[in-house]
């Protein structure tokens, strides 16, 4: 019994379809052309949308960067101006003190070395100091507040003769303290302005934005406004939360 095998059967089927064609309707190409045209339009639309989206993203990020840069620059300028003014104030104070101290030391003990002067105001030259001394001698010196304080502390001129570096340093210490207090006060106000400009960066800023500020070092947790009849909560102390606690080395 001779029957057709699978392989032969498959081959005959393949042969049957070899180079065979099926006539297509005339509208076949026009249909395809229409679809291709639509696809091209859709592709152009998608490309345009992507382009618009990319442009918006680019512009918004550029705007955000510019605003951030501008606010940063304002803060830097404010800080720079603040530092310059405090430095100027400090140098004025130092110069005045130098004048007073020089005058006093020279008048009281001319043999005393100028050790204190050098250590306190290294930029002041000896010649300059001497010329200033002449000027000071010619004109009566009006002591500054610290000088008055120091002179009030010193009971007699004998003590002033034995003045040493420590006593010389005192008024400067006071002056520096005063100056530093002034600086810290001014910088605090500057920092507050900068804080207002830099926006909400953390939980503390958010709480400060919603309610009023309260000193975190204070032991109170809540602060109420009691001016009016109805007391209202105006501040929350989040100092004990210790957010973003910095690791101490």
């Amino acid at each position: 019994m001779q029957h057709i095998q699978d392989k032969e059967f498959d081959q005959r089927l393949r042969d049957q379809f070899e180079n065979s064609e099926i006539e297509l309707p005339a509208s076949s190409w026009s249909d395809l052309e229409h679809v291709l045209h639509l696809q091209k339009k859709r592709g152009a639309l998608y490309r345009r949308r992507w382009l618009v989206a990319a442009s918006v993203l680019l512009l918004s990020s550029l705007g955000a960067y510019m605003s951030y840069y501008a606010s940063h620059q304002v803060i830097s300028k404010e800080r720079l101006a603040l530092n310059t003014s405090t430095r100027q104030e400090r140098s004025t104070v130092v110069e005045n003190k130098e004048k007073v101290i020089t005058e006093r030391v020279d008048s009281n003990n001319p043999d005393l070395p100028v050790r204190g002067r050098i250590s306190l105001a290294p930029t002041v030259e000896v010649g300059k100091v001497e010329s200033e001394k002449n000027d000071i001698e010619a004109q009566p010196v009006i002591p500054m507040k610290e000088e008055i304080m120091l002179s009030s502390l010193q009971p007699s001129s004998d003590i002033a003769r034995h003045v040493d570096n420590k006593t010389l340093y005192k008024p400067d210490k006071l002056a520096f303290l005063q100056a530093s207090n002034e600086i810290s006060l001014e910088t605090d106000s500057g920092v507050e302005d900068a804080d207002q400009q830099r926006g909400i960066r953390n939980v503390g800023d958010l709480v400060n934005y919603v309610v009023d500020k309260v000193d975190k070092r204070a032991e109170k947790i809540l602060k109420f406004k009691t001016d009016d009849d109805n007391s209202s909560l105006i501040a929350i102390n989040i100092g004990m939360l210790k957010l973003n606690q910095k690791k101490q080395k």
Partner: protein
């Protein structure tokens, strides 16, 4: 084969020497509609046969053909002239047909293999049947069986490749193929009629 195809393309499309296959490809790559139309009209009738083998009916076959040619024109720049353009288009059409089947996947009717007792005589003349009749018989197969039959018998995929492509086991592929052969043979015998069934022994 490739040179024969170019010759046939040039003859059948009555292309002038200037408008040879390279020019046609260049035109298609540039998105020239005229060049695309020429390529489509030359190759689509053959590809329609492939689509008809994979589809259940003509409408589905036309959809596959359209989808396939959209891919062809979209990827024509990837075609390297070293290979056969017709073979390349055919691969895209076959892949589109397989994707279409996977997309419209219905439950594969895995029918237990039962050896067909009836056998087609060796001297049966297939040419008497005609391609259209054979197409009808193939289209009559269940979806899974038809795809496996086409992939194995017509495209030459292995059972493992079919299994990987369709997400079935190699055994299931073999089963589907046996089923396809059995059904086709049965149908051919029916058409052959008692007069053509020559059994020996």
């Amino acid at each position: 084969m490739y040179s024969l195809f170019i010759l046939s393309l040039t003859e059948q499309m009555k292309l002038t020497p200037k408008l040879n296959l390279d020019n046609l490809l260049e035109g298609c790559r540039a998105g020239d509609r005229k060049a695309q139309e020429l390529l489509y009209k030359q190759t689509a009738p053959k590809m329609m046969v492939v689509c008809m083998r994979y589809a259940r009916d003509r409408m589905e076959a036309e959809d596959i053909l359209q989808l396939g040619y959209i891919k062809v024109f979209g990827k024509i720049s990837e075609f390297r002239s070293a290979g056969s353009l017709e073979g390349w288009i055919r691969r895209i059409i076959v892949n589109t047909a397989i994707e279409s089947y996977r997309r419209n996947l219905r439950m594969m009717n895995i029918v237990p293999i039962t050896e067909n007792e009836e056998q087609i005589a060796a001297d049966f003349d297939f040419s008497r049947m005609g391609m259209q009749v054979l197409l009808k018989l193939i289209q009559g197969l269940s979806d899974g069986t038809r795809v496996v039959f086409n992939m194995y018998v017509m495209e030459g995929f292995s059972h493992q490749e079919i299994a990987d492509s369709l997400g079935i086991s190699a055994g299931a592929s073999k089963s589907q193929l046996s089923r396809a052969r059995a059904v086709l043979k049965q149908e051919i015998i029916k058409m052959e009629g008692i007069d053509y069934a020559t059994y020996t022994g």
